[in-house]
Symmetry: D2
Subunit: 143 residues, 4 copies
């Protein structure tokens, strides 16, 4: 496994944040957000982060690349509830030739809700692993 | 709209059924299956019905067709709970050159849980509406 | 069935709108937003509409009520794509003692993407149908 | 973090397996199963494993307990496709007083599709961490 589970709980260690409101459809019969819902929030925040960096994800796809998810980790600390606004602090924690890791700190009303990380591989349109093109390395390595 | 809301509550009016167990991820904070979960169950049952008819959906896609959902209706009568087994009775209620309607009766332990219908359009690989090829007409018109 | 399929395509017939960006998790292998994703968008827009009216949904639940979905209709006209911003025009089209209908017009870049409607029943905390309390009647009947 | 990322790729190291067919709703615009879909599969397999052990999850909930997900890890190796049957090998890898880890090996047609692990905490009906009752310890420690 490539993933590092060393994830900061300090918001200032993250380059970006994105606020997401918990949908009722995302809750479960325990009365809180289902643990799989967080995975879509990480992705949504990632997509907004790329937009902020200047390269919206559809543009990356239009150039023939995808950022496949290779590994995923989440540590759930405090349940998010329906209608809560979850602030997803997001940043790139490491970048190599063909893979990179993103870390996430999820906060609800100032309390840590969850920590998470995803490892991504750059793939071409056929799903084959490939080196990141230089513009992507510049985009992500500096973020 | 093309859809007919005249949906039978009699299981014997349906050609096929498929049993689906309600996942915990499909429940919501009201403690029952979320109403959007049923939509995926209809689809799963449709896919099994096509397999039963002899043409698995991936084969339809491999031949360059998709069955786009044009309309959807659901009438929720009695909540399905986590771990319930939902029997999805499924049948084709009408078939025209390029569209057809499927009806569904969802039953849990002998009680009607929901009625539903979907109207589909035959589309080519680019998503454009097209006439159903003869094998598909034979497949669906007789079902 | 109680639902009326007479749904306006004119945005000015709706009291409210809410913008939702299509998540990658909401797409499917046809390359567009999966038809079940729309159901969660309708709900999210409904929740924001109630907030705008002055009674956030969690407050309705805290008062011992839920707005169960009894019927659902959707007419898909034009696929929404990943990263599209879907404007969900939302309004109440009829209100009776214990049930009401909401209509939705979904628009992407000025083009109609889908029409939809939901019929809701007011239920108490145990899920039993009940008359809407007077504050809810005032809230919804005038909206 | 409590999770161990040491997850076996040998099916015979797992006590149980459960087969799940990939739904079209679970795919994404990359043409494969979305990485969040796997999370629901792990859960469904866990639920079937508990049933096999003799204590269906609804019974655990009826006794006032829930098995909250504290940590989640997934390593995606090979995409699952629409209509694939994913065999989810499932087992308990460690058990302590109030938490336990489950490991998963996901296989499609004999090829490793993904490895995963979840760490669970026993909680009471209010969501508070609690020691596992003796019947649960016996149930899970021996599995």
């Amino acid at each position: 496994m490539r993933i590092s589970l060393d994830i900061s709980t300090n918001p200032s260690d993250y380059a970006f944040f994105f606020d997401i409101r918990v949908r009722f459809a995302e809750t479960d019969a325990m009365g809180v957000a289902h643990h799989s819902s967080y995975v879509a929030w990480l992705e949504a925040s990632r997509v907004e982060f790329l937009r902020e960096l200047g390269t919206p994800y559809p543009e990356i796809r239009a150039q023939g690349f995808d950022l496949a998810v290779l590994e995923l980790f989440a540590n759930y600390r405090r349940s998010a509830q329906f209608d809560d606004v979850v602030r997803v602090h997001t940043g790139i924690s490491s970048f190599k030739a063909a893979t990179f890791q993103m870390n996430y700190l999820l906060v609800v009303e100032g309390e840590v809700c969850a920590l998470a990380a995803t490892v991504h591989g750059v793939v071409d349109a056929t799903g084959r692993a490939t080196r990141a093109p230089s513009w992507m390395r510049e985009l992500l390595a500096g973020a």
